[in-house]
């Protein structure tokens, strides 16, 4: 069943592909007429156009579909990222435009034809499941280039082959692949020859002189320091060579793993700050050598989590194209939950949708009637929830709203709920009273079962303490309450010690009970909103600032070596001294147009600006781009276009351009 399906869809794919081919590709100035037929922009510019395209492109013969409905759905949302089906790329247009422009410049060289030299490595970063790879693939189809992908293959052939001469390490293979791929004109025979590299090509190479890019997603083991060093050397090597003709740009895709709010995150930062070596984290700094990252050859484009509006649209399209009858479709509520809990991760959203869908299919018909057509949200939550999702929201609400027996009911509760609350309160016993000298600590019986919270908590206590720390000020009425909460947070921090970082059983209880006890009762409702901890942003900033301190120190040492008499003094400066003492000097150097300028990154620590809190804080559940906002962003896409160009070119190019003339 499955092969047939894929065959048929391949056929359609070809049909679908032919459409964009009529479009003149790669022109920087896109006329609106062209855009209409462009799969990427059409989607977001005119909804109807995008839909039409999707339907036209992926219509299946209704006969086969009816029979293979279940299997069909599976293959649709099966975990392999089937980019055909994501042709309505749920990525912000401007982002796609950025990437497209980069490719264009890499192949054509931009307006002056000079940019080709600097468009060597493109790094796409962003959370997992934000369609980074898919964007590249879709663009590959649109702009008609082949994607050569590196895959770390198993060394099965080495198992039989025991002779040492023919042994090459996994990294050597990678090196070979990489060098050949980026150099050679005609790649196909070569790649097939080196059988160990399981590189895959999109089978679209009809014309021999078509363009290639190299896509690195499955990186060699960067966490191993010597492999990392060799990888860096390979990249430097690539950048030092002039681009081959036709150029083969390299795209590296890195899914960030955000720090998780555990004790060792902090450690990681400090050890990196001091030794310049982070452990166990693959991010852009470990993959790309620091000097390249600040240099002109590497462009970094960050992908944001997919906005809920776009995500919902993409899921709806997927549903409408791939399930045959309305019957088996998940209801709107289900879709809402999926979108909400996916956190901008489209892959996860599709997974969850598929999981939710299974109940709607096959046995669904009889059961669904009873349930009134939707799957209980609690069940969905238990499937889709990740950190920072609804459960966390509930957990924080439970702790921070501090509900106790005898709280006045809010005006919005219905009579039925009020009745139920009353009944529950009757069942609750009053707590044993405290002796008179402790009367100030007496509280009414709490409705929060801390043990239950502990069992259901989606996050560990250190992350919870960050959340509480971020949010508690909205819920307190006076300084005394603040004092008690901070006291409890500090107790939690100090009671851990080195002995049990991960599994301190007391933390959660002290944290939640302490907070409950400290908060006023009842908590004044003033429309509080939960905010994500800013801790991680600051951690990130600190990390960057430390990196720039290192850069500056290196620069200092380097320039001091030129004037020999001073070198002993400046070389001994510690990072701390550089950061604290040199701010003014660096700023002054920036102003004067001398020959040796400090690295531009120094601004990260020498020019720290105050930020208003409102700008940076992210709300917990509802951080979405509104439709109006999205459309306004689209409208000023052209102005953004110009501005973005400026940003990317930066200072380096201007000066280099002059040199070349």
């Amino acid at each position: 069943m499955a092969p047939r399906l894929s065959q048929s869809s391949q056929k359609q794919d070809r049909g679908y592909k032919s459409k964009p081919k009529t479009v003149k590709l790669g022109t920087p100035l896109i006329s609106t007429q062209v855009q209409k037929y462009d799969p990427l922009t059409a989607f977001s510019l005119s909804q109807s156009g995008g839909d039409e395209l999707a339907h036209g492109g992926m219509q299946k013969s209704p006969k086969g579909k009816g029979k293979e409905r279940d299997v069909g759905y599976l293959s649709v949302s099966s975990p392999d990222t089937d980019d055909r089906l994501w042709a309505e790329l749920p990525v912000h247009v401007r982002k796609v435009e950025d990437v497209r422009r980069w490719f264009h410049e890499a192949f054509e060289g931009g307006p002056l034809g000079k940019l080709r030299r600097y468009r060597r490595i493109l790094v796409l970063t962003g959370q997992a499941g934000t369609a980074k790879t898919t964007t590249v693939r879709v663009l590959g189809r649109e702009m008609n280039f082949n994607i050569l992908e590196w895959g770390n293959s198993g060394s099965d052939d080495n198992v039989n082959d025991t002779s040492y001469d023919s042994y090459e390490s996994a990294f050597t293979k990678f090196e070979t692949f990489f060098n050949r791929a980026t150099n050679c004109r005609n790649l196909l025979p070569l790649v097939e020859m080196s059988g160990a590299t399981s590189s895959q090509q999109s089978q679209k190479a009809q014309n021999a002189n078509s363009r290639h890019i190299v896509l690195l997603e499955d990186l060699p083991n960067i966490l191993h320091s010597s492999t990392q060093a060799r990888f860096h050397a390979t990249l430097r090597c690539l950048v030092d060579r002039p681009p081959s003709d036709p150029p083969v740009p390299v795209v590296i895709i890195i899914s960030d793993s955000r720090p998780r709010g555990e004790a060792y995150d902090e450690h990681g930062v400090y050890s990196r700050g001091r030794n310049g070596d982070g452990e166990g984290v693959i991010d852009i700094r470990t993959v790309i050598p620091r000097d390249l990252l600040g240099g002109p050859y590497v462009t970094n484009i960050g992908f944001n989590p997919i906005a809920p509006t776009l995500l919902r649209r993409a899921l709806q399209t997927l549903l409408s194209t791939h399930s045959s009858n309305k019957d088996g479709q998940p209801s709107k509520e289900v879709l809402d939950v999926v979108v909400e809990s996916a956190n901008g991760d489209i892959r996860n959203a599709i997974m969850a949708l598929q999981f939710a869908y299974t109940i709607g299919s096959r046995d669904g018909k009889s059961r669904k009637r009873k349930k009134g057509g939707n799957i209980p949200t609690s069940m969905l939550e238990s499937i889709t929830r990740r950190e920072q999702s609804l459960v966390l929201f509930h957990l924080l609400g439970k702790v921070l709203y501090n509900k106790r027996k005898g709280d006045p009911l809010s005006s919005s509760t219905s009579a039925k709920d009020a009745q139920r609350e009353k009944m529950q309160e009757l069942l609750m016993e009053d707590p044993p009273s405290l002796p008179f000298w402790l009367k100030e600590h007496e509280r009414r019986a709490s409705k929060v079962d801390v043990d239950m919270l502990y069992g259901n908590s989606p996050i560990d206590s250190s992350l919870l303490s960050l959340y509480i720390h971020q949010n508690y000020t909205q819920f307190v009425d006076g300084l005394d309450e603040c004092d008690r909460i901070v006291e409890c947070l500090s107790w939690v921090d100090s009671s851990g010690g080195e002995v049990w970082y991960q599994a301190n059983p007391y933390r959660f209880h002290i944290l939640s009970m302490g907070t409950l006890h400290a908060l006023p009762s009842p908590v004044t409702r003033r429309n509080q909103k939960f905010i994500k901890p800013q801790f991680f942003e600051y951690l990130e900033n600190e990390k960057e600032a430390w990196d720039s301190v290192h850069d500056t120190r290196n620069w200092l040492a380097h320039s001091a070596n030129k004037s020999l008499d001073n070198s002993w003094r400046t070389c001994s400066w510690s990072g701390m001294e550089v950061a604290l003492e040199l701010g003014g000097v660096l700023k002054a150097l920036e102003r004067c147009h001398g020959t040796s300028r400090p690295p531009r990154t120094h601004q990260r620590f020498s020019r720290m600006e105050f930020q208003s809190e409102q700008l940076t804080s992210q709300q917990l559940t509802e951080d979405d781009v509104d439709i109006e906002e999205a459309s306004s962003q689209m409208n000023d896409m052209y102005s953004g276009h110009a501005r973005g160009n400026e940003e990317i070119s930066g200072q380096w190019l201007e000066s280099d351009e002059i040199e070349e003339f």
Binding site: S78, P79, G129, R347, G497, N504, M513, L516
Partner: protein, 330 residues
């Protein structure tokens, strides 16, 4: 009496559920797994939760129900005891994924990675592409204690199921079933004690049941605590009651009692914590203060001072919490 055959399996293995219907707890999630088992459309899964709540068991049941007789060929299981470095992910898992196996239509091979949070980040990175490339033939089921130890790109590729702690009634039900089948004689206190000592961990509850049964032949509270070698919570409860009255002598007496029975300082302090957090007679404020003190003492004990004097200090501090502050003025 229990050893009718010389090679008896541990009951944990003997009564390990074989079908999803027998798995205890988390009814919603299990229902969903049952649907998957019937439909055969298994997404990549991550199941996370505390030890002993049926993560691995439910994955096994799912695999059995999905693959039936083909289980042997169709399942690759790796747990923390296997080598799971990068090479294994690159070689073993890949060659398994490439292997051709005849399976019932619509079914997939399954790779079970138990204790996946112990895999190195490097190995996890190597896994993520493999998951995608072979997903049309192979599905991955990961079990782990902390889902946040799994790197984000893998989480993004999986449906995450979070198992919650088992409820006391759920454990009780299963224990009763086993008692029935093994003809164990018990009283209610004994079962309560089993549930108290297991703290939501089914495996531990069943193990303790078996050891109590084979050791004493009768499951009562005293026997359970003897077998589990844990201080009797009633004694601890008495000590805490005395503390609340500010009666240092009585509390110390109970403590000495425990100490002389040979319990280690960690055992005692852990039992204090367990008792305090579920003890209804303590007001909220006192409970909070007590937990703070107990946690602090636990930390000191872990740092190496597991002496009686630390515990006595704990008792003294607990007593002081409920005494008039004027008494301490000189």
């Amino acid at each position: 009496m229990s050893t009718s055959t010389p090679y008896e399996l541990p009951w944990v293995e003997k009564y390990r559920p074989i079908t999803l219907d027998d798995v205890v707890g988390n009814p919603d999630t299990i229902d969903r797994l049952k649907v998957i088992a019937r439909d055969g459309n298994c997404p990549h899964l991550i199941i996370s939760g505390m030890p002993g709540i049926g993560k691995t068991t439910s994955i096994h049941c799912l695999a059995h129900q999905l693959l039936g007789d083909a289980y042997k060929e169709g399942v690759l299981e790796l747990n923390a005891s296997d080598d799971r470095g990068i090479d294994v992910v690159r070689n073993k898992i890949k060659s398994f994924a490439q292997k051709k196996v005849t399976l019932p239509p619509g079914r997939h091979k399954i790779v079970i990675l138990d204790e996946a949070d112990n895999m190195t980040p490097g190995a996890q990175q190597a896994l993520r592409r493999t998951m995608e490339i072979y997903s049309n033939t192979t599905r991955f089921c990961l079990a782990c204690n902390m889902s946040n130890k799994i790197i984000e790109p893998i989480q993004s590729r999986c449906a995450i199921l979070r198992y919650t702690k088992l409820k006391d009634q759920e454990i009780l039900k299963r224990l009763l079933e086993i008692c029935e089948m093994e003809k164990v004689s018990y009283n209610d206190d004994g079962l309560t004690a089993l549930i108290f000592t297991s703290e939501g961990d089914m495996r531990q509850a069943i193990n303790n049941l078996q050891s109590t049964h084979s050791g004493f032949g009768f499951v009562s509270a005293e026997n359970v605590f003897k077998v589990c070698d844990q201080p009797h919570p009633l004694v601890v409860q008495n000590a805490i009651r005395s503390c609340m009255k500010g009666d240092v002598d009585a509390a110390m007496e109970s403590l000495n009692d425990l100490w002389e029975q040979g319990y280690s300082a960690v055992d005692i302090v852990v039992t204090f914590f367990r008792v305090v957090k579920t003890f209804d007679e303590i007001p909220e404020y006192t409970k909070l203060e007590y937990i703070k003190e107990i946690g602090f003492t636990h930390m000191r004990i872990l740092e190496g001072v597991g002496s009686l004097i630390q515990l006595a200090g704990l008792i003294a501090r607990l007593c002081k919490k409920n005494m008039k502050p004027e008494l301490f003025k000189v």
